[in-house]
């Protein structure tokens, strides 16, 4: 077996241009956490089952552990740090606190990244649809009810606020 093969990458992370040389076998989350110090994105199962590593890459939700860092060359990556700073989900985060939608918090960044996609779609959802949407994200503490409550309440609040503006 030869030495460690590396490759330069240039990408945007949370709006900032980043240039780095990465081992070709390193996955995106290890790069974000270990090299850039963005530890909000969690590594759980590292085989695509738990959803703790959910990220937004070029505008869509992906599993950060199922993509190589070299594959993010030229991409626009948004982590939970970027989503938090943008204020896009401030109301959802508040609802998570109000509803006790987290205990240990390990799954929370992934849950928020995934739920943000439903909020962006902008349509009202049944509890069953919210559950189905979040089925790719494991939570081992809450039993999910409070998480579904928080997402549902945020969707309702946004619909209500949208209605007022008209």
């Amino acid at each position: 077996m030869g030495g460690e093969e590396s490759m330069p990458i240039r990408l945007t992370v949370n709006g900032e241009a980043v240039t780095h040389v990465v081992p070709v076998r390193q996955h995106l989350v290890d790069f974000l956490r270990g090299t850039l110090g963005l530890t909000g994105t969690h590594v759980g199962c590292e085989h695509g089952v738990c959803g703790a590593c959910s990220l937004r890459v070029d505008g869509v939700l992906v599993r950060g552990c199922l993509m190589l860092a070299v594959q993010a060359h030229g991409a626009e990556v948004v982590t939970i740090e970027g989503l938090d700073a943008s204020g896009e989900i401030a109301d959802l985060q508040q609802a998570f606190v109000e509803r006790n939608a987290l205990q240990c918090g390990f799954c929370t960044p992934g849950m928020l990244m995934a739920a943000a996609e439903l909020l962006r779609a902008g349509e009202q959802q049944t509890r069953a649809a919210i559950r189905e949407h979040l089925a790719g994200n494991f939570c081992r503490c809450t039993g999910y009810h409070a998480i579904v409550d928080a997402v549902s309440a945020t969707l309702e609040r946004r619909a209500h606020a949208g209605g007022k503006r008209v």
């Binding site: 077996m1 030869g2 030495g3 460690e4 093969e5 490759m7 081992p23 070709v24 076998r25 390193q26 996955h27 290890d30 956490r33 270990g34 590292e46 085989h47 695509g48 959803g51 959910s54 869509v60 939700l61 992906v62 599993r63 552990c65 199922l66 993509m67 190589l68 070299v70 594959q71 060359h73 995934a114 996609e117 559950r131 189905e132 949407h133 089925a135 790719g136």
Partner: protein, 305 residues
Amino acid sequence: MAAFGPGQVYREPGVKAPKFSYVRAASLGQVLELLERYGEDAQILAGGQSLMPALNMRLSAPRLLVDINGIAALQGITCKEGVVRIGALARHAEVATSASIRQYLPLIAAAMPHVAHLAVRNRGTFGGSIALADPAAELPACALALDARFVLQSLAGRREVAAADFFKGFYATARLPNELLIEALIPVRQNWVPVFLELARRHGDFAIAGVAFQVLLAAGIVADARLAYFASEARPTLGLATLAAIKGQRLDQTTTEAAVSALPKDLAPIGNAAASAKLRLHLQGVLTRRALQQAQATITGNARP
């Protein structure tokens, strides 16, 4: 080994996968040349939603990873002269929302919500799912039920392989190590009624039993039908005995029970930690009954003024 204690900085381990070389392929020709040279030592990286887990867990140790994501010729979904072409790189999310798929291949449209979770559908590809040939995956079963043909290309040229000849066993296909799966060609069938059913422990997980079924009725009689079982044997299985039981019949209770009774002639499921062989056979019977009932209900519903 030094213990990790208070005040110490935890250094993230940098990598999980074994060492490999990586090529971001710029053209189809380059991919085919690399496959010719490396053969089984090369792995194609498309959506990576199964390959990346295998690499992270070191179950796979290729010498070379050929990333085909940048090759435009492998993308897209088009319909021409009664045949839908699905490019190998068409992402599941694209297939799931495609108007052509909904209109011409409603069986695949019905299957897509069962294919993994949103984040996986955004990366995973149609060609990747077919070429991997996971026996519990939805798309190989749909391709079999729809009489798909797969186009394989190597430096020597192109060939087409029918779905019925393509799936050989557990993760085993007719694709040779120097060949790349380019696209799937699937004939459009007008007026067939599709039903896709599966059972999984969690929505979006791999199935523990599943049925891809489509039927053509003429004056209430089954004129033709196709049925593939998945998540039971080492590869998707055509339900030939089940189909023989319904051909030329009305889809009533007697026919349905005859079809369910024929099931053991079609299937000898393999048991594993998720479900025993006996349970899988039982569940496939339940799904077969539901599929026939649902097809009949759809037809009755459509017939109402």
